[in-house]
């Protein structure tokens, strides 16, 4: 319906750097895995509906 649109814009994604562009000494993402895991603690025990 007219007026429904929220004029939201798709966010520009600059894309990943090429492998050679990775700054030397940048933090290894493996070192962040504990922090990454903690973000999902609430969900790991959630049972989802059976889907297809």
């Amino acid at each position: 319906m007219p007026g429904r649109e929220k004029k939201r814009r798709f966010r520009e994604d600059p894309g990943p750097p090429k492998r050679d562009d990775t700054p030397p000494g940048e933090r290894d993402p493996i070192d962040d895995l504990d922090e990454d895991a903690d973000r999902h603690e609430q969900n790991i025990d959630t049972e989802e509906p059976d889907k297809q």
């Binding site: 939201r8 895995l33 969900n43 959630t46 989802e48 889907k51 297809q52």
Partner: protein, 528 residues
């Protein structure tokens, strides 16, 4: 091999049921999956960029709509499901699947703002508690092969295709921590989905999931095309895993379609087909490929040869056959052959590494090796190993959090897959510019024509009047009745004549009639 008649390839697409979590301290909010999914799809439907001119229309209004890029987004059993448009080669297919992830991610961000709590979206296949969701694959194949593959009696095409679908997980498995639904204990397995396969063949998707799904909904002219619906594949994050999954499977189907005797000399399992799902599970759990399932090969002479081969060895036989086939098949154009040749060359290279015991070299290329060696490095930094993972419940939980939740999180800033990508650990297949284009525009072929017709006929289209193979408008000559513009060839090529016809037409009936004739002539030239 005999030389086949020149034919089009196979249109393909995926339907991904995303996992959705509402982040809230209130359990009633967390359990209200429908509210979260409805909010997400409504945000997408409110976006001019995703919907094109349709956005201001009042038709539809339900929780399923076609997007401007030819895809379909909907609330399917409390999951945001994204069906890619039908694509005519596996490369385009990957571009559109990645674009779908971007759309769902963006819509989830908008919905989070509206709802006032974050939504997390994942591309995975289970919740770790015995509940599964799919990443279904669709392949438009000829009716004769469709019948062979889904109907009684069991025949060589069925057993060959089923064997291929089981062993392809060596390359395409998404990788998973632990085992669900079985009294087995493995710290890591190849596939997320095989734990949920319970039978050989059936027309069900939510319980007792089959290896061969018999659904018969062609969304096309059923005399020329049927849609094979394969439901046991994994939802992949690595673009190359998806590429090989769709590329090898569509090429196998083309081979079976083109050659009556394609199944000769290809190994199949010795077990009765009713036990094939168990074979698939055992192979998924055997991530180091120690076991060697018994297989038989039917020779051209008619004698059976029984062999013991590992899953990678069986897959090698199939890929070798496809490598021969890709060189002789008369594809529509050389770009198509180049893409399929690339699928084969990559498969040969990666399978060679796996067979040489060097699967760790595929960290960052394919999903299961990426997950396995990501977790291994994580454990090594803590002085732990896979042996610890078999007996330490806390460690198992941490590994599940990392592989099944953090890695699969569709958040391009915080998801672990995307962090690995930014750090240069992940090898991409497609360009970001192609993905961005696919967010807004349909791929070549029927989706392109469908979107053109939809744009042309707005605002006349009746509520719910857009489907994969038709667009419905009211009949101005007969109030209360409708006209249907049929789009029944999923492999059609949009040519300048068709484009001009749709753009310039002022008479729907005439447009429908002329389009039909143009598509008929095109099919006839290709011998369909």
């Amino acid at each position: 091999m005999e030389h086949p008649r020149k034919r089009p390839g196979i249109a393909m697409g995926t339907e991904t049921e995303h996992s959705i979590y509402a982040e809230s301290a209130d359990p009633s909010v967390r359990r209200n999956f429908n509210k979260a999914v409805d909010a997400l799809v409504r945000e997408a439907f409110d976006s001019t960029q995703f919907m094109g001119p349709q956005v201001d229309r009042s038709f539809g209004g339900g929780f399923t709509q076609f997007l401007h890029n030819g895809a379909r987004l909907y609330n399917d059993i409390q999951a945001p499901e994204y069906s890619t448009p039908e694509c005519q080669n596996p490369y385009t297919m990957v571009v559109h699947e990645v674009a779908g992830g971007k759309i769902v991610e963006q819509a989830a961000r908008w919905a989070s703002e509206t709802l006032g709590y974050p939504l997390k979206i994942h591309r995975k296949n289970s919740d770790g508690h015995g509940h599964a969701y799919g990443c279904h694959e669709n392949y438009c194949i000829r009716p004769k092969l469709f019948k062979e593959l889904v109907r009684d009696p069991v025949n060589p095409s069925q057993t060959v295709m089923a064997t291929f679908l089981i062993v392809r997980q060596v390359l395409t498995g998404a990788g998973k921590v632990g085992v669900e639904c079985h009294d087995e204990s493995f710290p890591f397995q190849l596939s997320q989905r095989w734990d949920f396969c319970n039978q050989f063949r059936a027309n069900v998707t939510r319980t007792n999931r089959p290896l061969i799904q018999t659904r018969n909904e062609p969304h096309a002219n059923a005399e020329k095309w049927q849609r094979l619906h394969y439901i046991m594949g994994d939802a992949n994050m690595c673009e190359i895993s998806t590429y090989l999954k769709m590329g090898l499977t569509s090429l196998m189907l083309m081979l079976l379609q083109d050659f009556e005797r394609a199944s000769y000399n290809l190994p199949t399992f010795m077990e009765d087909v009713e036990h094939y799902h168990r074979v698939g599970q055992v192979i998924s759990w055997d991530v180091d490929f120690v076991g060697r399932p018994a297989v038989e090969m039917t020779q051209r002479t008619g004698s059976d040869v029984v062999l013991a081969m590992s899953a990678p060895e069986i897959l090698q036989r199939y890929i070798d056959r496809l490598a021969e086939y890709v060189e002789i098949r008369p594809f529509r154009d050389e770009r198509e052959r180049t893409i399929y040749r690339d699928v084969i060359e990559r498969s040969q290279k990666y399978l060679g590494l796996i067979r040489a015991g060097q699967a760790q070299e595929l960290y960052g290329t394919l999903d299961w090796p990426t997950k396995k060696w990501m977790l291994q490095r994580y454990m090594e930094k803590k002085g732990q190993s896979w042996v610890d993972a078999t007996r330490d419940e806390y460690l198992q939980r941490r590994l599940r959090l990392i592989a099944d939740h953090a890695y699969t999180w569709l958040d391009s800033e915080q998801g672990t897959y995307f962090k690995l990508l930014r750090a240069g650990h992940i090898t991409k297949l497609v360009d970001e510019s192609e993905v961005r284009n696919a967010v807004f525009t349909p791929p070549p072929g029927r989706p392109q024509l469908r979107t053109m017709v939809v744009n042309k006929l707005l605002p006349s289209i009746v509520p719910g009047g857009i489907d994969w193979d038709e667009v419905v408008v009211p009949n101005p000559m007969d109030p209360g009745k409708n006209w249907t513009i049929k789009l029944q060839d999923p492999m059609l090529v949009v040519n300048p004549l068709m484009r001009g016809l749709v753009e310039d037409s002022t008479n729907v009936r005439q447009m429908e009639k002329e389009l039909k004739e143009m598509v008929r002539l095109q099919s006839m030239k290709e011998g369909l």
